[in-house]
């Protein structure tokens, strides 16, 4: 038996207990005090039933759907990067308290705001409360967000596929089975349970085959760049990375242009089968560490106040920590999901708490599992491979399955989570482009998709991924802050308490704008000094410093645009909030 406090178990357990208190106590308080939900009040699902988008659905189904829609690489990779920068204690504290006070509040409140506004999504509500200008800024923001998130996820996936040789082969099985599943169920009318069993068998066959047969673990690490093999790193600007980015782009293109039930949705179905097992197993394994003898191997706190831009990967604790852990603590994407479809299908107002709040708290648990996975390792890289290695170690000790096998399993899990969400993002971009640019060539589905994928490849191929990750976190969390402020404006307009959303909204808006400004400064520093950020050294070597300059220039401009747009939106939202509060005081 090891020293209990030197294992991940007590800290993960503490996180679980605090999340439970968040759900049982704090969320109930907000539910009654702020929104005063009434199970007898008809929801839009009942008022406007059309059998297509608006129809009542069980809260358990919606909970599963909400969690699937919001879960991605954010809670997996973010904590790893945060632990790498600052140590595990600050990361854990933000993960727990951020979700407690802000994360679930945002998801739930966005959902309730939509329910109380006839099921409208964020765009129309923004228009009603704030006018056309703010809505347009929100749309531009979403477009830029989609590019950044797809690029950064692409890098994470390529890094894993490259470092863990053979991990792409199970993905081929999943993609193949996804395409086949749709045919089995909808064309050949095979019973869904039988088709599911076949799908599970094929997916696990893929994983077991690669685990059991080392000779099929191809292609090897940095296979197109033999000179880079000894560096033990995946390098931007390398031919291997370009190869994998093109492969991903082809898959995303197919997912974007084919009908959803043909390829994308069955692939999501098949891909999530191992994901569910992976998530549950790693949390259980973390709680059993006192018995399996796995201890913490990381220091709790590192240097918290780095202001030297030459240490480009990190920055001061505030604001960088708060944008590094995206999704596990808070995420703006969730407000779009909450108000986009889920709110239209809530059967009772009181279901918003388990669906919106519950799903976000579950995502926080995913973040806890990521912290547990990284703190048991010695030296580690700030990449998703670390998650696969740590989760593999945790679960291998619990299950007795080989470390190599479990590491491969978790590598596949991470790639699946990243690919599935990326395919959806590319498809969303294609649909949004069709709406916004319908009269131009950019509205064409093929052109729009290709433009997006080219931007994705450019950013992932030439950029420094940890800095891109902070852009992603900054954009994502800023969207969250703006969503919270919009909810505050709405609550002020109906004379309900606003403090529980306004203060978190202000905090997130200021923090994320500061983070975007910091990253813009870092990119500008390197641009002005004609230097390459660490991972870009290879890009400079192969393609010349000019490409690095273009990439850094583009990134600096992007960051500046995002920071300015975010600041403008925050200003308008605060102005709107003050206006509605004054009217409330008068009446």
């Amino acid at each position: 038996m090891v020293d209990f406090l030197n294992t991940p178990a007590p800290y993960i357990a503490l996180g679980l207990v605090i999340y439970l208190i968040a759900y049982v106590v704090y969320s109930k308080y907000i539910d009654k005090r702020v929104w005063n939900t009434d199970p007898n009040k008809p929801t839009p699902a009942k008022l406007y039933t059309d059998g297509v988008e608006y129809f009542p659905v069980s809260k358990y189904v919606l909970y599963g759907y909400q969690f699937k829609s919001v879960a991605a690489l954010g809670p997996i990779v973010g904590p790893i990067v945060a632990v790498y920068f600052y140590g595990w204690l600050p990361a854990l504290i933000w993960l727990i308290l951020g979700n407690f006070f802000i994360g679930w509040v945002q998801d739930y409140s966005a959902m309730m705001m939509s329910v109380r506004n006839d099921g409208r999504s964020m765009g129309p509500i923004t228009y009603n409360l704030m006018g056309e200008r703010v809505r347009k800024i929100l749309l531009v923001y979403i477009m830029i967000y989609l590019i950044i998130i797809t690029a950064v996820f692409a890098w994470v996936i390529v890094d894993i596929i490259n470092r863990i040789a053979g991990s792409f082969i199970p993905i081929i099985f999943i993609l193949f089975m996804g395409a086949l599943f749709g045919q089995l169920v909808f064309r050949m009318k095979i019973d869904i349970l039988i088709a599911t069993i076949i799908a599970i068998a094929v997916v696990f066959l893929g994983i077991v085959l690669v685990g059991a047969l080392p000779q099929i673990r191809v292609p090897p690490f940095n296979f197109l760049d033999p000179g880079l093999v000894e560096t033990n790193m995946t390098w931007p600007g390398s031919w291997t990375v370009l190869f994998w980015l093109i492969i991903l782009a082809i898959i995303y293109y197919l997912a974007a242009i084919t009908p959803m039930p043909r390829f994308l949705l069955p692939t999501i179905f098949v891909g999530f089968l191992p994901a569910i097992i992976a998530l549950i197993l790693v949390i259980i394994a973390a709680l059993f560490t006192p018995l399996t003898g796995i201890t913490i191997n990381q220091i709790p706190v590192k240097d918290l106040w780095i202001t030297d831009p030459n240490k480009f990967q990190t920055g001061p604790l505030w604001p960088i920590l708060f944008v590094t852990i995206a999704c596990g603590a808070i995420s703006g994407w969730h407000s779009l999901v909450s108000s986009g479809l889920t709110s239209k299908q809530l059967e009772f107002e009181t279901d918003a708490r388990p669906v919106g709040g519950g799903a976000m708290i579950t995502e926080g648990i995913v973040g806890l599992s990521s912290v547990a996975s990284v703190i048991i390792l010695g030296t580690f890289a700030a990449t998703a491979v670390t998650y696969a290695q740590g989760a593999g170690k945790l679960t291998s000790s619990l299950t007795g399955i080989s470390l190599d096998g479990m590491t491969l399993f978790y590598a596949v899990f991470v790639v699946v989570m990243g690919m599935i969400t990326s395919m959806l993002f590319v498809r969303v971009w294609r649909n949004v482009s069709a709406e916004l640019f319908e009269k131009s060539i950019l509205g064409n589905k093929h052109v729009a998709t290709i433009v997006m994928l080219l931007l994705m490849i450019f950013l992932a191929f030439t950029g420094s991924w940890t800095n891109l990750w902070i852009y992603f976190g900054g954009t994502n969390q800023l969207l969250a802050g703006l969503a919270l402020l919009l909810v505050a404006v709405y609550l002020a307009s109906i004379k309900r308490p606003t403090i529980y959303v306004f203060i978190p909204g202000i905090f997130m808006a200021i923090t994320t704008v500061a983070a975007l400004i910091w990253e813009t400064y870092v990119y500008s520093y390197f641009l002005i000094n004609n230097k390459a950020l660490g991972p870009q050294v290879n890009v400079a070597k192969v393609f010349g410093q000019g490409v690095v300059q273009i990439s850094n220039g583009f990134s600096a401009v992007l960051g500046a645009v995002l920071a300015v747009l975010g600041a403008i939106m925050t200003y308008y939202l605060i102005r709107g909030y003050i206006k509605y509060r004054k009217e409330a005081v008068k009446t």
Binding site: D50, S58, Y60, G123, P261, F269, V428, E435
Partner: protein, 89 residues
């Protein structure tokens, strides 16, 4: 544990898995079905909307099948549309 409670826990678990894996497919298929219904609705109502697509004899033959869908069709046609509606697909 009473049987009803066991059944409700099992149903909750099953529903959660359904939501996790199937619900997005269901909504997507419903939307695809709706677009096909729109086609029939336009053919049936076409002459009332200034688009005489079918001779009245055929649109009147289709009308009894489309009448139950008119209310939801109107709701969908007249609803606020926005890009953020299609963000979740």
């Amino acid at each position: 544990m009473p049987k009803e409670k066991k059944d409700s826990i099992f149903k909750a678990f099953k529903d959660t898995l359904m939501g996790f894996m199937i619900h997005s497919q269901v909504t997507s298929m419903l939307k695809m079905k709706t677009y096909t219904e729109y086609l029939f609705m336009i053919m049936t109502m076409g002459d009332m909307l200034g688009m005489p697509l079918l001779p009245p004899y055929y649109s009147l033959r289709l009308l009894p099948y489309m009448v139950p869908n008119i209310k939801s069709w109107k709701l969908r046609m007249l609803r606020d549309r926005d890009v953020t509606d299609i963000v979740v697909g």
